[in-house]
Symmetry: C2
Amino acid sequence: MSSPVGLHRVIEPAGVLPQAARKLDASPQISADEVRIRVERLNLDAASFRQLSEKHAGDGAAVRAEVCAIVTERGKMQNPVTGSGGMLIGVVEEVGPESPLGLAVGDRVATLVSLTLTPLMITDGLKGWDGRSEQVPAEGHAILFGRSIAAKLPDDMDPELALAVLDVCGAPALTARVVAGYRDATVAVIGGAGKSGSLSLAAARQAGARTVGIVPHAREAELLTGAGIADHVAIADARDPVALADAVSGALGGPADVTVVCVDVPGCEHGAILATAAGGTVIFFSMATSFAAAALGAEGLAADVTMLVGNGYVPGHADVALRLLRGEPGVRSLFEGRLRAD
Amino acid sequence: MSSPVGLHRVIEPAGVLPQAARKLDASPQISADEVRIRVERLNLDAASFRQLSEKHAGDGAAVRAEVCAIVTERGKMQNPVTGSGGMLIGVVEEVGPESPLGLAVGDRVATLVSLTLTPLMITDGLKGWDGRSEQVPAEGHAILFGRSIAAKLPDDMDPELALAVLDVCGAPALTARVVAGYRDATVAVIGGAGKSGSLSLAAARQAGARTVGIVPHAREAELLTGAGIADHVAIADARDPVALADAVSGALGGPADVTVVCVDVPGCEHGAILATAAGGTVIFFSMATSFAAAALGAEGLAADVTMLVGNGYVPGHADVALRLLRGEPGVRSLFEGRLRAD
C-alpha cells in the first residue's frame, strides 16, 4: 500500500520521511494515489546552485555532471552540502485513480513541495543546460504523492512570474487567515517591498487591515510607496528593536495587532515582538529566524504575543497569491521589477 | 523617563535591549515603575554553571571569582560564553509608585525573567558559596522593570519545588489556552513525564481534553502511568516521525488536535507535525527546535497545522502552574521524584 507522504518510496535509511532519506525510489510506475510529471525544467534552490558553482569554480560542465550524479544516486535533487533542493515545472503524464490532487493529464504544473522530497529521474543528461544558471531545462519524470502539492500554471502570465509568486504563496494566505481573527486589525509587514512582503501587505489590506510596510532604506520606501499597496511606509533597521517598534507605532498610532516578518536577516525577533500589541500575533516567515531568540525574547519582554512559525502550506494558497497578483497592479510591478533585476 | 523594558539601564551598546547589552546600570536608585529586590540566592542556568566549572576544572574558588567579576563588569549575571543567565530569589525592598507588578515590600519572590536582562549588584563577594553548585547564596540587590515578571513564592511548598514549577510555568498556561480553542480536543504531549510535559498534560486534561503522554522508554512510561495524569501513555522515539505518529494515533484513535513538544532533543519537528490533525496546532516548547525544520517540514508534508513558538510568558502563568501542582498529586510526585534525582 502506498503512503500519502511517500514512505513507500524511501530506499534508505528505512523509516524516515522522503525529505530525510539518502535515496528514493524514482521508478516511473505510480501507485493509486500518485501522479507522474514529465519534467520540463528544474529551478535549483539559490543556495544549492551557488555552492555547486563555487565548488567547481564556475565550470558549467562540471556542475551539470554533479547534478546528474546527485539525481542518479539519490533519486531526487537534494544538494548534499546545503541540504536544499528547489522546484520543478512539467506536464502531468499519468494520474493514479485515487490521487486527491485534482490534476488531469496534460496540465502544466509547478510543484510546490521541495525537490528534496520529490522522486526524480533525468533521462537527457541535462544536455540542454550550460550549468551556469539556476534554471535547468531537463527531460525525465518526477512523482507526486497523495499529500504533495502542485499548482497549475496560469495561462495569463509569464511562467517565470508565476513561479516567483508560487514560491512564496504561503505568506499571503497565512497572513489573511491570521488577520481575519482580529477586528479592525493593524498589520506591520517587515520587509514590505519584497516578494512575500508585498503579497502579505496586499493580503492584509484585502482582509480589512490598516497596514504599514517597513523597509530598510529610502530606495525601497520609494518603490513601496509607488506600488500603493500599503497604507503607510516607514524606514527602519529591523535588527534595531527600539527603532523598529517606534517606526511601527509612529505609522499605526500604536503597536501592531499582527506583525509579519519577511526579511531574511538574522536578529529581527526582538524588534518584531516589541512592535506587536499585547494579544497580538507575530508571523515569522524568514528562514533566518532563531527559535530560541523568539522564545526567550518574548519571555524577557513579558510579551503576551502569539508567535507563529510561518507554514508554507495553507489550503488554497496558490490561488490566493495568483489572485492578488492579478488584482493588485502594485504587487505585479514590484515582482516584475525584481525579476528584471535578477 | 524610565522604559518599561529597561532601556534606560543599558550602558552599552546604546539602543539595544537589556538582554543584548554588554553592560547594565545596576545602581540601587529605582525609577517610578521599578522594583528593587534584596537578593538571597541566584540559580545559575545549568549550561552556564557547567561551562564555568569545566573551564576552571572544578576549582570552586575560581568559579566564584569569575561570577563576581562578570556581575561587576556587566551589571548582570550573563555568562559571556553560553549567553545564559538563570533566575534569582529575594525579598522586595522598595516598590516604585508606578510599578505595575503588584508586589509589596517584604514579599518573597522569584524572578521569572532571565538574569541576562536583570540589573544585579553583589555586595558580599559570594562568600557563602563554594562555587560547586548552581545554587548561589548571595547578598546584594536586583532591579525589576515595569515589564519584568516576578512570582511570589508560595508558603505551602518547598522553595526548590516552587522554583522548579515556576521555571516551566509558561507551558501549561499556553497549552490550556490553545486547547480551549478546540471542541473535545485530543492532545499529545511529547515528553509527558518531564517537568513542562507533566504540567502540560494536567493542564490539557483540566481544559477538557483527552490526552496521551509520549515517553521514550518503559521506565518513564511506568512513572507517568503511576502519576495518573494522562488518559493514555505510549512509548515512541520522538525523532522517528512514523513511530511517533503511529503511537499518537494508536492511543487517541487518530492524529492529535494539539501536539505539545516538551523534549529537549533535536529532530522532533517532523514527527510532531505528522502526529497532528489537519487544522490542529503544534506547540514547540523545546529549545532544541529548529525553525527551518518545522517550517519546511510542514510544507513538505502539506500539513495545514498552526505551529507556535512556545512563549514562556502568558499572563497568570505562575498561578496556573502552582495550582496544577497543588491540585494534581501525580504532577507533584513526578516533580519531587526529579528533584530527588538531581
